[in-house]
């Protein structure tokens, strides 16, 4: 049994009086590709944002590499250095070129030498097939290109876990494919990934595990193909039926 990289232990997250995560327990081992699906507003993105302390939790505990994650605490930086996050709206730094976007954190957070970071960054641009766009500013890139730069940016810090927060939701249907292709490559490398997505087919193909959430709870957690074919809960069957047809 591999030791988990990430553990959620009865996690509760509230926004004011509203409970968004209602007792989430979950354990992820290295190499797993966990896809979170479910209706909007059921806490999938919030769960992801708790992993690196972008949200603070009100109950339970989250452990990354066995260490408790505490949002707002100094120790959170240690976790953030090891978690690469990809956002729905890319959130590239608009005043920096694509290359500078990718190099910034490794240089100032991880204190690596420029030459080493630049070499790695250029290699990553090749991997996301954007070597020709290396000096472009984010505004000069299409949505799909921006998201691929964002993936390169996350990878350049050499994270142990990648967290994708609806990475294709802000893209037009034609560019969704190019981002998913990059994600497939990453999955094939055996990277540990958490993916909040509405791309059920991608989740079923690439995911090693599917978590269906509804109203702040994990309703079902299992094999993606099996769940898409025949979910055991009525709620998941309903949801998957609706998106499949």
């Amino acid at each position: 049994m591999t030791t988990p990289i990430l553990e959620f232990d009865n996690v509760v997250k509230r926004f004011g009086a509203r409970t968004v995560l209602n007792g989430i327990s979950l354990s992820v081992v290295p190499g797993e590709i966990v896809c979170f699906i479910g209706p909007s507003g059921t806490g999938k993105s919030t769960l992801l944002r708790c992993v690196n302390g972008l949200e603070t939790i009100q109950g339970g505990e989250i452990r990354f590499d066995g260490e408790p994650v505490r949002g707002g605490h100094r120790s959170i930086t240690a976790v953030r250095k090891r978690v690469g996050m990809i956002f729905q709206h890319f959130n590239l730094y608009p005043h920096l070129t694509a290359l500078q976007n990718v190099m910034l954190a490794p240089m100032i957070v991880h204190k690596e030498q420029r030459e080493i970071v630049e070499k790695r960054a250029r290699g990553l641009f090749e991997r996301v097939r954007l070597s020709h766009r290396i000096d472009a500013y984010p505004a000069e890139l299409s949505g799909g290109e921006q998201q691929r730069v964002a993936i390169a940016r996350a990878l350049c810090a050499e994270p142990r876990l990648l967290a994708f927060d609806e990475p294709t939701s802000a893209l037009d249907p034609e560019t969704v494919g190019e981002v998913l292709a990059v994600m497939r490559d990453l999955a094939a490398e055996g990277r540990t990934m958490l993916v909040v997505t509405h791309e059920i087919r991608f989740a079923a193909d690439v995911g090693t595990r599917m978590v269906f959430m509804d109203e702040g709870k994990i309703v079902e957690d299992g094999d993606p193909r099996q769940m898409v074919a025949a979910a055991s809960s009525e709620r998941a069957r309903q949801f998957l039926g609706r998106v499949n047809h």
Binding site: L54, H89, H95, R153
Partner: protein
């Protein structure tokens, strides 16, 4: 324009330099203090936010001439030592500019989208690093055009220093007018000097905006996300 005024023009040009120096110093101090106040406005600690708000509202509500009088005539009474006209004028201009700059910087920082702070934090940057590498460069572009306006306002307000006896451009112009036997020509020259100075600042500001790519589409992207 008569000959005697022409002979005084170099003197006025020199005085224009003094006015620029005075207002530049006021603006610079105003930016430093204003940046501090803007950060306090964003503080987690509520009383600090209140203090910063009161500071801003106070200094932008008091006429600058009154602040100058207060600094110049009040310092000996309240502090027990004299402030030179230059110090009193600089102080008053800086206090006024700091209130304006605080508002400009606060708004500029607020224009940097939440996604930018989150992306930088998620990458492990400290609060200072987020500010230094991500937020401030984007805020600078937003703050630049209105800051040019504050510089121009400060330069115009610096003419009030003539009232407490500081010999800057306006005071020099008035002295020249006395020396040349009155008339409107020295006042016209004075107006022309101010216009040229401020127009030069405007042009320099536009050049700076181009240099920092203000208004390029990428800024909108930053504001959106």
């Amino acid at each position: 324009m008569n000959d005697s005024l022409l002979t005084y023009l170099p003197l006025m040009a020199k005085a224009a330099g003094t006015s620029i120096w005075l207002s530049w110093l006021g603006l610079l101090l105003g930016i430093v203090v204003g940046a501090g106040i803007a950060l306090l406005r964003r503080s987690q600690i509520v009383p600090l936010r209140w203090l910063a708000l009161i500071y801003t509202e106070f200094w932008r509500s008091i006429p600058i001439l009154i602040v100058m009088f207060f600094a110049y005539y009040g310092a000996p009474l309240l502090l027990g030592f004299d402030l030179s006209p230059f110090t009193a004028a600089t102080l008053a201009l800086a206090l006024h500019a700091s209130a304006s700059m605080a508002e400009i910087i606060r708004a500029a920082l607020a224009s940097v989208g939440r996604g930018q702070w989150e992306a930088a934090q998620a990458a492990g940057m400290s609060g200072w690093q987020v500010m230094r590498y991500v937020a401030a460069p984007q805020a600078l572009r937003v703050a630049l055009p209105p800051s040019i306006g504050v510089f121009i306002t400060t330069l115009k307000e610096s003419s009030l220093a003539s009232v407490i006896g500081y010999i800057e451009l306006t005071k020099t112009g008035l002295l020249v007018r006395d020396a040349t036997g009155g008339g409107l020509a020295p006042l016209l020259a004075l107006g022309a000097f101010y216009f040229l100075l401020n127009y030069a600042i405007s042009l320099a500001g536009l050049a700076a905006e181009r240099r920092f790519h203000v208004g390029r589409r990428q800024d909108l992207v930053g504001a959106m996300t």
